[in-house]
Amino acid sequence: MTEIKTERMTGAEALIRSLLAEGVDTLFGYPGGAIMPFFDKLYDHTDHINFILTRHEQGAAHAAQGYARVTGKPGIVVATSGPGATNLITGLADAMIDSTPLICITGQVTANLLGTDAFQETDLIGITMPVTKWNFQITKPEEIPGVIARAFHIASTGRPGPVVIDFAKNAQIAEFDYSYKPCHFIRSYVASPVIKNKFIEEAADLINKAEKPLALIGQGVILGNAEKELIAFLEKTGIPAAWTILGKAAIPTDHPLNMGMLGMHGNYAPNKKTNECDVLIAIGMRFDDRVTSDIHKYARQAKVIHLEIDSAEINKNIFAHVPLLGNVKETLPKLTALVKTNLHHAWIDSFAPYAKIEQEKVIDKDLNSGKETIKMAEVVHMIGEKTGGNAVIVTDVGQHQMIASRYAKCNQTRSLITSGGLGTMGFGLPAAVGAKVGAPDREVVLFVGDGGIQMTIQELGTIMQYGIGVKIVILNNHFLGMVRQWQELFFHSRYSSTPMNNPDYITIAKAYGIQGQKIMEKDALSKAIEDMLAVSGPYLLEINVEPEGNVFPMIPAGQPFESIIFE
């Protein structure tokens, strides 16, 4: 037996040492009473840990999400008990549904006060159960190293997700003999399911016989760092691919096999072909209703191969004829080894007429409207050109999010950071902060609406304090645009609570020491974008866009593909 070296220290110090042992160098958060012993010890570690003080705990959670999504490492949040902790809930729910590795450490009242309605006590373990992959309340310092090690293992392996560690104040203060050992195994937890060769063979057989195969790419490819494995598979088989918005950057926008976006506002051809293909290969995606719409009329003709790490997703929405459980990083190469080299020219060519229809009915109008007023798509497209498709694109939620997903150019992976499953307005600005902190050498451009930016606008303060070089592009249509669009299409244009009277965003930016300008006309667009990109620090560009623009095509919620509308 080897002797384990220990060192006597407080729980707060042990938490910091544990984080350092896991390679953490960045934290997002906000102090408060119950977490003060931790912040006191943090004061001694400012050389090793970059602490980003956000202006609201929700901002810290979304920033940590942005950080996690660009780096692939868990984002770490530290907040206090009670309101500090409850302010994290939206971020947790967002991370849960979008499989983002997040570790939230919250202060908690001293253990002997638990359950007494003490000041700033809240049952965070109870509250966060439905929105965390795992949570744990530390009441004794001896628990710290083991629990932190488990938290990292659980948050970042398997299907990643958020973890909450609720840290009672007494355990932060008390001393104990500390030593740290990373966790690689929990007997009740399957980080990586056993891959069954039988299903690999069945899948390969189906693919080899397929005449009209279609691959659907989800975020699982990015979470599994399997982008190369994906391209190898697609290029060997010659299978055309389409993506969910979280899977967008897994394949370069210009790749010849990239057929575009799936779902409600996705491209016409891949949505149409979903209902024509003979084999549907779903790779790390979960058949969300925004992708499938009416599941009873979704790909009924196809044999479905589902590559998925989470067994609860198999047959959840769409029946899988071949359930290929496992990390796509491992299953894709196994599959690639067994499939035949192929080209599906005729099948791929059959996408073109539908792409042409969409080009004429939607894209040409979006990109060359001929009008003086600027369209969102023109902005997204131009920024894509001027950044060479190398920027990290962050979005908020709404029309601009769909337009950005449709028109943004992504040459590399981890380049579209957006709130997919939860659709969290207010996600964008803090997520962009986290993305820039995580990828300081990349250009980070945020597209945000005039509604969403006001939900977390206080994070301009964070940008100011740390000089975070985020490029903020407000696409201002003076409406809550997506809700307005639905009101126009489905509620007889009764614009109930969607028009917005907005503040002067440039003056607000100025108050935070952030440069910016506002433009109204198309002639000014190109120069304004260049001015923005020429600035090394943060910048706010407000663009007045067409007030009642709509996002098309659109498959109305819950309806079959045939209900698609183009204008």
Binding site: P130, Q137, S188, Y189, K316
Partner: protein, 184 residues
């Protein structure tokens, strides 16, 4: 078609797990009919026995969600034919009712129930069986004034020759590993 299922989940013994399991039912609007938590035949592993009414599709998804929980080792579901199951019921009636005639005593005898406790004031009767059986006894005793009645959650064992979990644990090498981890 909805029918009755018995879910068995094997887990670590951790605070809060019951809550995590129950919210999986709540969120999908499936009512838990009965619930029992106990030790299993495997050391250190706890067993949840949950009875609910659901469709085959619902129950399959539900059990996968339970199994997905970090602290759950495996979860299974069974229809009634696949298990041997029992519930225990306790009935309290007045001693006077028992003494007045032979009626109560003969009901108790006919139903394979037994008297656990007799005091000057009351008698406690116990009956083990299926829900319908314990309910039938309640209905018969009702005219004699049942002052208290309680029925336990279902306990069940499968008709398999051993605990299904054992094979899984052996396959995953978990039993051995958990031994060695204790040594450390």
């Amino acid at each position: 078609m909805e029918k009755e299922y018995t879910v068995t989940a094997f887990s670590e013994n951790n605070v809060g797990l019951l809550n995590r399991i129950s919210i999986i039912f709540t969120r999908r609007r499936v009512n838990i009919e009965s619930l029992t938590v106990s030790a299993s035949s495997l050391k250190g592993i706890h067993k949840f026995t949950i009875v609910c009414v659901a469709t085959p599709e619902q129950i399959e998804k539900l059990v996968k969600q339970i199994e997905k929980l970090v602290e759950v080792l495996r979860a299974f579901y069974h229809s009634d034919e696949e298990i041997v199951h029992q519930e225990v019921a306790l009935y309290k009636v007045s001693t006077e009712a028992l003494m007045k005639s032979n009626a109560v005593e003969s009901i108790v005898l006919q139903h394979g129930a037994r008297i656990l406790d007799i005091t000057p004031d009351y008698v406690v009767i116990e009956k083990t069986g299926h829900r319908e059986e314990t309910q039938a006894l309640f209905d018969l005793l009702f005219p004699y004034k049942v002052t208290q009645f309680t029925r336990s959650g279902r306990v069940a064992v499968t008709r398999d020759t051993k605990e299904r979990l054992t094979d899984y644990l052996k396959e995953m090498d978990f039993l051995e590993r958990s031994e060695t981890s204790k040594e450390r």
